[in-house]
Structure formats: C-alpha cells, structure tokens
C-alpha cells in the first residue's frame, strides 16, 4: 500500500464483540492499524511498545487498532478464543480485531506481524512499516510510529513515511 493513498475501509469485530468501522474514524486526528498476532515473537517483542503508543496518544483522540488476520485453523494460537483470552489476561486497552476472511490484510498489503499503518483524519495512509528499527531494542520505543503520529498530528509529512516491515509472515489460508 502506497503512502498518500486512501486506506481501505473495513468493519471488523473485536474480542468483546464490538464492531469497529474505520469510516467512522474519518475526521479524527489519526488512527493506527497494526497487523499483529499472538504467536509471532516479533509481534510479541514489539507489543509493549505499541501498547504504550496507544496509551500515550489516547488523550489526543488517536486510536490504535490491532488486527489479526492469520489463518487460525493452522495456527490455533491466533484463534478468536485465544485472542480474547490474551486481551483479558493482559488487560489490553486497544481493540483486537479478527480479520477472519483475511480481506483486510490483503487490501492493505500487510506482509508481516507486526505491520503498522498510520492514517490521518482523511483516512489517507501516511506511514507504513515497522514500529521502529529493532524488535530487540525496547529503548527505541516505537520511534517511527511515534514520529509518524507526531507528524500527522502536526500537519506535516512523516519522515520516514515508509520502512520495511519486519516480522513473521502473515499466515494466509491455503
């Protein structure tokens, strides 16, 4: 997905059964879509940093939506039940959406877990890629994600606007 283009709209359900419709976020300062999952060590290593971004920007009407698109039949750790259990056990404050058909991941061109997309108020993609430069360095603190959000909130272009996503491949259905 090229930055500057319109983010594909979608409607998905989170682990509590609540529907989340991206179109409803139009006019909000920024929205972040993070393709992630339960079973990938890269997604797990980055998770705390992503959750911290969600907390730190919540007061500015920024929402971070996590989306799991993996084939749950082949990877039961990514089943809706496992997603719900994890959200409850870890006390997530971000919605964790299940993309059962994998249509959303396909529409975004999501390749890995995690793969981050930062959208502006017009739901244009302003950043896509990794949260920061190294899953193994917590001190980086999701710097690319934060910098993209700061740029969008400040009305400027993120720099970098695109980075290479790093993580486990999305587990597509056969």
């Amino acid at each position: 997905m090229t930055t500057g283009t319109a983010a594909p709209t979608f409607q998905l359900t989170d682990t509590t059964g609540r529907e989340h419709e991206l179109a409803a976020r139009a006019g909000s300062p920024a929205t972040v879509i993070v393709f992630t999952c339960n079973h990938c060590p890269y997604a797990l290593a980055w998770h705390g940093r992503i959750a911290a971004v969600a907390d730190d920007y919540a007061g500015r009407d920024v929402e971070v939506w996590c989306v799991s698109s993996n084939d749950a039949a082949r990877f039961p750790a990514d089943s809706p039940e496992a997603m719900r259990e994890r959200v409850e056990a870890e006390g997530w404050r971000m919605p964790y959406l299940y993309d059962e058909t994998q249509d959303v991941a396909r529409a975004y061109g999501a390749r890995t877990t995690p793969h981050v997309f930062v959208l502006d108020g017009e739901l244009l993609v302003r950043y896509e890629g990794a949260p920061d430069a190294d899953h193994d360095d917590p001190s980086l603190d999701a710097a690319w994600m934060r910098s993209a959000l700061d740029a969008v909130l400040g009305g400027s272009q993120p720099d970098p606007a695109e980075t290479e996503p790093v993580g486990c491949s999305i587990k597509w259905r056969p």
């Binding site: 079973h39 990938c40 060590p41 890269y42 797990l44 290593a45 082949r74 990877f75 039961p76 899953h135 193994d136 917590p138 790093v166 993580g167 486990c168 491949s169 587990k171």
Partner: protein, 107 residues
C-alpha cells in the same frame, strides 16, 4: 564430532541472526563454524517428521538445545525464546546459546 544443526523455516526472518549467533558460539569452542548443518523445514509433513516446533531450532546430535515443553505444538511457525532478562525474542539469547552449547559439547 557432534552434529550441530540449525533447522529453519522461510516464514521467519530470524534465520540469519540465529545462524550468526550459533556459528560464533561454535567458533568459541574451537570448532569450525562451517560444521553447522543448516536444514530447511519446508512443509507441514517435514515439520511433523522432524518434530519441529518452530524456527529457528538448534540441535546437537539430534537433541534440542532448548527443549520445548510437552504441550508445544509441532508445525511451521516462528519459535518464541526468552532472553536472560525475560524479554521475548525470535532467537535464543546468545549467552544462553553459548552456555547450552558448551554444556552439550563437554558432556
């Protein structure tokens, strides 16, 4: 000469780092890093046959350097390791890798 193997699956990008760490640990023991046998696990059938619980997996003479739990499912997936400080990682902690390798090689 022990057989030291790195089993990997293409769905995880952790192989180069894991191989570098393993070869460095092998060299520290005075062995040629080239002795490391690198084997791809490509299919679900391969994973079942190898009792492969994820990529990367390091084995010495067929025994996992970091034995998985009994409930660890076999399959094509990325393996989750814990670093010495408790953080999650896609590759073994290099210090723990050296330690375990040393233990196996001197046993």
């Amino acid at each position: 000469m022990p057989t030291i193997e790195l089993l990997w699956w293409e769905g995880c990008p952790s192989t180069p780092r894991a191989l570098d760490d393993l070869r460095a640990a092998v060299a520290e023991h005075g062995l040629d890093p080239g002795v490391v046998v690198v084997r791809e696990v490509a299919t679900d059938d391969d994973a079942a046959r190898e009792a492969f619980v994820g990529s990367p997996t390091v084995r010495v003479d067929g025994e996992d350097l970091f034995p998985p739990g009994d409930d660890e499912p076999v399959g094509l997936t990325c393996r989750i390791y814990l670093l010495a400080d408790g953080r999650i990682s896609p590759t073994p902690d290099p210090a723990l890798l050296r330690e375990e390798l040393s233990r196996r090689l001197t046993a």
